[in-house]
């Protein structure tokens, strides 16, 4: 261990001790991260991390910072160590942050998923589930934990992948929030046969979709008479259909979906 590593190690321990102390004192329910730290971390992230990791934290292949799961760290101390020392053999460099910045970055990483969560009022997840499966008719298109059709995006992990704010916008006005990866496409073959589905992947010459019968289909663009990417989502906008309380409840339910582990 080099001298600088020793110093880093001491710093991590000291910061962790501070964090743990605060956990008991001030944040019994919501976690050890203050909004102020998260805000500081968000600013640091935007200037230092976003170039490689992207604003959504998932631009480095195999790394999704927003998921709350880290490939090389199981606790905040290890996260801090990675930030300060980098990851050898990868493009992740070592950073020099003040203690406040480092605490902030960790706080932000731990709360990226729910950052901007203030936009979504706290709802009742149990009630949200009832609406999702009943009057909202969400489950007629979306699959959750192995149940439901596959044409619309599977929502089993949506609580890990999207912020509350993003989920709420997707429910209220899907056209403003639909992700690029969930575009529907319509292709007409030379013989007139039409294939519709959700796009899974695309390049200059081909497109891969899951069609309405849930088959995986790969099409060569040169074989198509027509190919349309449909930017308007088939999902209805629930604003006006569901009450604001209903929407909050659905959002609260979706935030509980973090995959089966």
């Amino acid at each position: 261990m080099t001298r600088s590593t020793v110093r880093c190690g001491i710093a991590v321990t000291a910061l962790l001790a501070v964090g743990e102390g605060r956990l008991g004192a001030q944040f019994p329910a919501g976690g050890p991260y203050s909004q102020a730290d998260i805000q500081v971390g968000a600013r640091v992230f935007a200037s230092q991390c976003v170039v490689c990791h992207g604003a959504t934290g998932n631009l480095v292949a195999g790394v999704d910072l927003r998921s709350g799961r880290f490939n090389r760290a199981s606790n905040d101390g290890e996260l801090m160590q990675i930030v300060m020392e980098g990851v050898k053999g990868t493009a992740m460099p070592a950073f020099t942050f003040t203690p406040a910045e480092l605490t902030g970055v960790i706080a932000y990483l731990r709360n990226m998923r729910d950052f901007n969560a203030g936009a979504a009022a706290l709802g009742n997840p149990e009630r949200g589930r009832t609406i999702f499966e009943g009057s909202g008719r969400c489950a007629t298109c979306h699959r959750v934990n192995g149940k439901g059709p596959r044409l619309a995006p599977d929502l089993s992990r949506v609580g890990s992948l999207r912020t509350a704010d993003m989920i709420e916008r997707a429910v209220v006005a899907p056209s403003s929030a639909l992700n690029f990866e969930n575009r529907s496409v319509r292709a007409v073959m030379r013989d007139g046969k039409t294939i519709a589905g959700r796009r899974l992947n695309e390049d200059t010459y081909t497109v891969q979709i899951i069609d309405e019968q849930e088959y995986l289909v790969s099409l060569t663009k040169a074989d198509l008479r027509e190919y349309t990417v449909i930017e308007k989502p088939s999902m209805p906008a629930y604003k006006g259909t569901l009450s604001s309380q209903d929407i909050s409840d659905v959002v609260a339910y979706l935030l509980t979906l973090r995959g089966q582990r």
Binding site: G54, D203, T204, Y205
Partner: protein
Amino acid sequence: MTRRRFAALLPFCLATALPCALLAQVSSDRLLRAADEPRNWLTYSGSYMSQRYTQLREVTPSNVKDLEQKWIFQAQSLQSFSATPLVVDGVMYVTQAPNDIVALDARTGRVFWVYHYAATPGRICCRGLVNRGVAILDDTLFMATVDAHLVAVDARNGEQLWDTKVGEAKAAYAMTLAPLAIKDKVIVGVAGAEYGIRGYIAAYDAKTGKEAWKAYTIPGPGEPGHDTWPADGWEHGGASVWTTGSYDPELNLTYWGIGNPGPDFNAAQREGDNLYSDSVVALDADTGKVKWHFQFTPNDPYDYDSTQVPVLVDANWNGSPRKLMLWGNRNGFFYVLDRATGRFLLGRPFTKVNWASGLNPTTGRPILTPQPPGQPTFPGPAGATNWYSPSYSPRTGLFYLSAWENYSTVFAEGARVTYKEGQNFTGGNLTQTPGTAAMPLLGRGIINTWHEGAPRGVVLAIDPATGTRKWEFEMHDVTTSGILTTASDLLFTGGREGYFQALDARNGTLLWKVSVGGEVAAGPMSYQLDGKQYVAVAAGHCLFVYALR
């Protein structure tokens, strides 16, 4: 030479009935005339003019569809395969990231020897542990390493001849470029601008590894241009060098593109033009003295490194023969310079640009139009183009480059940052342009569904006389591939989608494509053996080699 290596070499010599003496010395005279022996590929860009153009013409627009894979070399490395191989009289020399040199039979891909360089442990090399290839002079190969050493290796047996420290690895000096051998010297430059290095280009005696000259890319006290930096800024101002330069033997000038100033994005922290960041410098090849410079982006807030390969062209300009330099810059402008004087001749955007409304017609200095806070700047920080090798075909008279269209980012000055050795030294506050898809700068996964509103890759053919587009070939995804053109008017390139494709260099028509299953982030090259033309390109973690059936 070890017995094992000798044993490996012997059957090759017998089987091909070629005496080993054919592994002739690559003299500096041969390097001067590299373009005239198209069966070989003797420098990173194919010749000192760096046109990445081959005089070979066996593969043509009409038979290119008959190309088939002849062999594949699978690198024992999961780093990006960014190298262009050299081929010398039947032997290929390619680097396996980060710093192995592999000598192969260019007919079969069978390996003669592997030289492994063990880089200093530690945090090294900001943008990935990559290497773009080797240089050769006489019987010696030269490789620049990620921990900023220059090594010389015997081309016949892979034994190390010398190892010279070029920069301090623990201060984040690194090298990823292929060196350039000129006369009796080997020239390299150092990377690490994001870590507060002070960049330089340096030449080493090819026989001994002793430093011959060193040219800082940030002038020191008393030197012209020093006053373009704040007093506390020049020592860590970046201005790195990470792509290979070019050389004009008549002028005895070697040309190198210089990277961004540091701290990146925080232009206000380093008031002044910040010479020679984002510039091209012309150096006396014997002394390293700066003969002239031209700066593309003064006081750069956008990370517009000018680390493109300088493409040298002898052509008529306004009716008179002239020594030109063509440059598709990361800042979105295409430039034509007089390479004897550095005089600006022409500049025009080759894609959407809004950080400048144009260039001063006399000086080429940009007329700045900084965007209001929160508004996107075109192009974004990965640039309208980048390190990807361009090409120039003397037959078509066109300049070809890989570019990103419709690419922007919202930039903002970040908090003041303080230098600390070996640590990240960047400022800025970058956010995605609202309503666009997230844009990975350095490669991405294998799923691509984010393109609506996001940039696309294009191959552009630019007429140097006017700076206008002659044609374009649009891809779904962005591209980081270099370009090769041939004397049969073919253009070879790839992209992030994992295709390698041939276009008609005259009009951009797609003539052939093959799946290589991984990103092409290197420049293709061509060579000839037994009268047969081969085309080679690295993609993913492999080198693919094609020839006609």
